[in-house]
Amino acid sequence: MAVAAARLPVEAGFLRVEHLTKDFDGVGAVVDVSLDIAKGEIFALLGSSGCGKSTLLRMLAGFETPSSGRIVLAGRDLAGLPPYERPMNMMFQSYALFPHLTVADNIAFGLKRERMPAADIRDRVDAMLRLVQLAPYARRKPHQLSGGQQQRVALARSLAKQPQVLLLDEPLGALDRKLREQTQIELVNIIETVGVTCVMVTHDQEEAMTMASRVAVMSEGRLLQVGAPAEIYETPASRFVADFIGNVNLMEGTLDVDEADHCVIGCADVRHYVGHGISGHPGMRVTVALRPEKIHLSRTPPNFRDFNAVQGTVAELSYFGSYTVYHLRLPSGATLKVSQANTHRHRDDPLTWGDAAWAHWSRSAHVVLTH
């Protein structure tokens, strides 16, 4: 899934955020956030609206002053540096292109402020237009372009000054779904070609996972987990992260057995056999997180029914084309979400509403959350 996952951090600690806090009238918009972003990395801040990710980005750009904490870029503390002196450029949400300037003049705007010689500006603008494949549109005004083209002008404008850090605020939020998927890959390719360090803000987990090498999940101003997309998805550190990223079944239970190589957790409908220890104590309350796609569904009972298997009835099913999501009603009345890839065009005996079915999963399918 992750296009950019192969990118390795080259130089750790290039952009450091240290205990950054921002209060608005006593309410913490960002609370004690520390980050360490490597040079050349694409780093995503992911969270729902109002989680503080945009405030954090605006502090990086210099539009908001931190209440406390530091932002250090390549060893230099950025405190007190106004936006127009920071070696960072932002691609704004819905682009904020200058409507009275042509595409070329929009891209040249930052270069003119540097008092770059006119010939150099022309060369740089041409190079940027080629980079985003908009050379034929140089003389157009922004309102004469499509949404996707405007997005590329915004990107070219923010890259023209060759910033040390590129800030992206909901870079694809204004595009429709089909265009978004294509643009994600294009955008990552351009950023990688330029080799700029990139911090992006998004509420779209797919966008974060596809584009970023590392993702930071934020909620209520706090940083909940930082890691590679696969790490965040497969080993969420908390109920919130497990629930926020993708679909998940969360089951409350009690730790019965806890050995070095396995543990057993008893829940209302099923006993879980987990293929690793969790160094807890028996009787401890834990939550088991189980992704719907890691569960198998069959009419016939599995070989082992003592653990990791439960029978239920299909209460609801949603067909998504490439996969189907079943809502299985369990004996306790709880619902188990199961997603099955539709690998065949026609099933002989497809499961339907009211059918009884067995759900079962492997010993490595779970994530045990102790808080």
Binding site: M90, F98, R113
Partner: protein, 313 residues
């Protein structure tokens, strides 16, 4: 399927409705602007009779005769009285517009940037003077600018009157009334709201993220103001300037009350032709030339408006 016919019927009613909406003001302008203008044009080309101008068309010796008299226009071109009055009108209208812009722009700017809750109150304050008669407000300036009026005390007290003398705005220290100075004060005071309101309209609509984008790209706030705010408020600047300039050129009351002998403007000349000389054709000629002078800036205004609203392609 009767859906298309219903849609067509709907469209038809909508088209009728549109004609009514456009037609009423159109008819108004036709009856109360174009026709009177044609009458004025007619009079300007007529011979003055004993009581009223002669008809352009007349039966003379059994022949239908059209008599056009262009002597009024040649007189306007030759007699320096008219030229001086036109130049004075344009000059005072220009300074009034410029001062209104210089005072009105920051005013509108900070009004548009004020907290949303305060903005209606500020807007109210701009319009408050309209609640008092225009004539009374202009008369009030007579008192304020006469010796021992508040404004007179302030200006003379601060020792500003020698500066005004040096600028040629007043003839001697302490004499503020009936000078170009008092005239321009009165005109700027009267027309300022007409500058502020359209400017406020465009500045309030300005997307503040554009200024952030400019700063992000290295523009200091002052540079961002000149490269983004000013160009994007051009429509408001043009609209406000036209609203001030056009009525200023033909202004009659303010120069009459606050102006002096050296501030003879075209409105006064027209008045004299009509009521002192009883020369209707000459007065009409002066009026026609003035309208032509105003039409030029109006044409510029429309061109700019059309450019601002250029269709999306």
């Amino acid at each position: 399927m009767d859906a298309p016919t219903t849609l067509a019927a709907k469209l038809r009613t909508r088209v009728h409705g549109r004609w009514v909406v456009i037609g009423v003001p159109f008819l108004w302008l036709l009856v109360f602007f174009l026709l009177p203008f044609l009458i004025v044009l007619d009079i300007s080309l007529s011979e003055m009779g004993t009581v009223r101008p002669n008809e352009l068309l007349s039966w003379r010796d059994g022949v239908l005769t059209l008599t056009l008299r262009f002597s009024g226009y040649s007189l306007v071109a030759q007699d320096t009285l008219y030229l001086t009055a036109y130049v004075a009108s344009l000059k005072y209208a220009f300074w009034t517009t410029l001062l209104c812009l210089l005072i009105g722009y920051p005013f509108a700017y900070f009004m548009a940037r004020a907290r949303a809750a305060v903005q209606p109150a500020l807007l109210m304050l701009v319009m408050l003077p309209f609640w008092t008669s225009f004539l009374l407000r202009v008369y009030a300036w007579k008192g304020l600018l006469s010796p021992d009026g508040w404004a007179w005390d302030l200006i003379v007290g601060l020792g500003l009157d020698p500066v005004l003398v040096a600028l040629g705005l007043i003839p001697a220290p302490g004499k503020l009334m009936h000078t170009p100075f008092s005239l321009v004060i009165g005109m700027v005071y009267t027309y300022l709201p007409f500058m502020v309101l359209p400017l406020y309209g465009t500045l309030a609509k300005l997307d503040l993220r554009l200024l952030e984008a400019a700063q992000d790209l290295g523009a200091r706030p002052w540079v961002a103001f000149w490269t983004v705010t000013v160009p994007l408020s051009r429509a408001g600047i043009v609209a406000g300037s036209m609203l001030v300039f056009i009525p200023s050129v033909g202004e009659f009351v303010i120069p009459e009350l606050l102006g002096g002998p050296e501030t003879l403007m075209i409105g006064r000349v027209m008045w004299d032709e009509f009521f002192a000389n009883n020369d209707w054709p000459m007065a009409s000629t002066v009026a026609v030339v003035m309208i032509l002078m105003i039409l030029v800036p109006l044409a510029v205004f429309h061109k700019v408006q059309a450019e601002a609203q250029e269709p999306r392609s």
